[in-house]
């Protein structure tokens, strides 16, 4: 498996949440949630529908702010007012359906919002650089693209997810949030994505994963956070638990 050589990562990219509360009107979506995740690890958030997983992840990625509690990165308190701010700080989210725009071509998707420009007065879109870089970056994730002018909608589901992951990393993501990255994929496509997620550990990325697939989550992850009705009811390292234990706790 290809390994990225981007040497700009810090030694650690630690994320801590302390006693987080979040209400939506009367709904207590998160109650006193604390968690800590570190780089080079895959951290999995598990829980039923409506447990509060997306709410938690949305706070991390700057979509919402917590009502109470502290959010720290490398022991510094942070607060993001938008996903863009979080992204600039190195926290990226790959959304399942919104990851790419199908009718735009692959390189235009890869550089969307951060288009490289040529030097000179007109600052034109440097398509050659974009094309070349897109091919190179996707190759690092075992995807060979001959023609990056193809509509991104012609990529397979797994390739689209990987494109979004590759893009996040290329633009400096150190904490990567994946909200059910494989739930819409078949077995084969799903395996492609899983392999690439595992490879992120070697690149010292702090991966935060939401999943409903317990077997897959167990296989992939190093640490497990179990949420139920807005409470963080349990946390495990991989060696402290098993697929069956997780199943029991989640009542499945």
């Amino acid at each position: 498996m290809a390994v990225l050589k981007k040497s700009t990562f810090m030694n650690s990219n630690r994320l801590d949440l302390h006693n987080i509360y979040k209400n939506f009107g009367n709904v207590k979506a998160l109650k006193n949630v604390s968690m800590s995740t570190n780089s080079g690890q895959i951290n999995c958030i598990l829980g039923d529908n409506g447990a509060g997983k997306s709410t938690l992840v949305n706070i991390i990625s700057g979509v919402f702010q917590q009502d109470e509690g502290d959010y720290k990165i490398n022991d510094e308190i942070v607060s993001f007012s938008s996903p863009m701010e979080a992204m600039n700080a190195g926290i990226s989210t790959v959304y399942q359906n919104l990851a790419i725009i199908p009718i735009m071509n692959i390189y235009r998707n890869f550089f969307l919002g951060q288009e490289p420009t040529k030097k000179g007065f007109f600052k034109t879109f440097d398509k050659e650089f974009a094309t070349r870089t897109t091919i190179e970056q996707l190759e690092k994730f075992d995807i060979k693209i001959e023609n990056p002018k193809r509509a991104a909608g012609t990529l397979s589901g797994g390739e689209r997810q990987i494109l979004a992951i590759a893009r996040a990393l290329y633009f400096g993501a150190k904490i990567l949030i994946l909200d059910e990255p494989t739930s819409a994929l078949g077995v084969k496509e799903s395996n492609k994505v899983v392999n690439q997620i595992i490879s992120l550990k070697n690149q010292n990325i702090n991966v935060i994963l939401i999943s409903h697939n317990i077997e897959q989550a167990y296989m992939l992850s190093d640490k497990f956070f179990i949420i139920k009705n807005g409470d963080m009811i349990d946390q495990f390292e991989k060696n402290q638990t098993s697929v069956n234990d997780l199943r029991k706790i989640l009542g499945k």
Partner: protein
């Protein structure tokens, strides 16, 4: 896709003389200039139905300010430009703030602007048509920029054709060669994804509404200097015609894709058909039928086009 349409029609009118060429290029150029703005806005996922009324407003405002308020025509034109772009800004702001379909919002402004233009003009002058602007100061200057002509092979080609080429070039450059162009595509293709990638979709949309207003003003100045005055009804149906040209040129009604070169061909087809029917001695009513059929066929073709995700450029 456009090519066969083009040739189908072109062969039919192959007998056209250079005078014929001039006459349809002139018709095409006015639609073509509007269609550049309209297409860019459509690619960003919005419509502007108010541009026809903005042409009426602009031409009347320039004429009134010049004749009734005794302003030099260039000054009247600049003041009118500011007002027109401000209306475009209001259109855009209302659309992005309300989140309602621009189709409805600008249909509203079409009637508001057209109604106000007629009412105010009648109030001031008691008429709906005003001419005689050619005696005003600065008219010659404006006429030379917007409505003079260039002699080629003994035929006077109106300068609007060259303006059209410039609009096409700039539109093409912006859409295909710049970062803003990529943002315009993305805004129309997926608002949500674009927002997540930090693209200022509101700014883009509002700016493009201002651009369509600018195009309307530009056409208004051409018309005022060509017809030596204004009529409150100027620009009627231009909003639809420019949308038709954009759609025939391959612009997706749903936004996210379009080509400025395609739109140029759309405007060309429009001019060829319109003048061709006159030259061929067919009753001009058939023109509407023909355009309607072309519009529907183009939408059908564009629909299958989107399904295949052919977005390679």
């Amino acid at each position: 896709m456009f090519v066969w349409l083009f040739f189908a029609i072109f062969a039919h009118n192959g007998f056209l003389s250079i005078y014929g060429v001039k006459s349809y290029l002139q018709v095409s150029s006015e639609i073509g200039i509007l269609a550049v703005g309209v297409a860019l806005l459509m690619i960003a996922g919005e419509f502007d139905l108010s541009i026809g009324s903005l042409i009426g407003f602009s031409s009347m405002s320039i004429t009134l300010l010049t004749i009734e308020a005794n302003m030099p025509m260039p000054l009247a034109s600049v003041l009118t430009l500011i007002m027109t772009i401000f209306i475009g800004y209001c259109n855009g702001l209302t659309v992005v703030k309300s989140g309602l379909p621009s189709f409805i919002i600008t249909l509203g402004s079409l009637f508001i602007v057209r109604g106000l233009t007629i009412a105010v003009t009648k109030l001031i002058t008691g008429r709906t048509q005003i001419s005689g602007i050619d005696e005003s100061s600065g008219y010659d200057f404006m006429h030379s920029i917007f409505s003079s002509s260039v002699k080629i092979a003994d035929v006077n080609f109106p300068v609007s054709i060259f303006w059209w080429i410039l609009f096409v070039f700039l539109g093409y450059f912006m859409l295909n060669q710049t970062q803003i162009g990529n943002w315009i595509f993305a805004t129309g293709a997926s608002k949500e994804s674009s927002k997540l990638m930090g693209i200022p979709i509101r700014k883009i949309k509002v700016s493009l509404f201002m651009l369509t207003a600018f195009c309307a003003w530009f056409i208004a100045v051409i018309q005022v200097t060509t017809f030596n005055g204004a009529d409150v009804l100027r620009g009627e149906q231009k909003e639809f015609i420019s949308i038709i040209a954009a759609v025939i040129g391959g612009t997706l009604l749903t936004g996210g894709y379009g080509s400025i070169i395609g739109v140029m061909i759309g405007a060309l087809i429009f001019g060829i058909v319109k003048q061709g029917i006159i030259f061929a001695g067919i009753d001009a009513d058939w023109f509407q039928v023909f355009m309607g059929v072309m519009l529907v066929s183009a939408v059908l073709v564009n629909g299958s086009f989107k399904k295949k995700y052919i977005h390679e450029f």
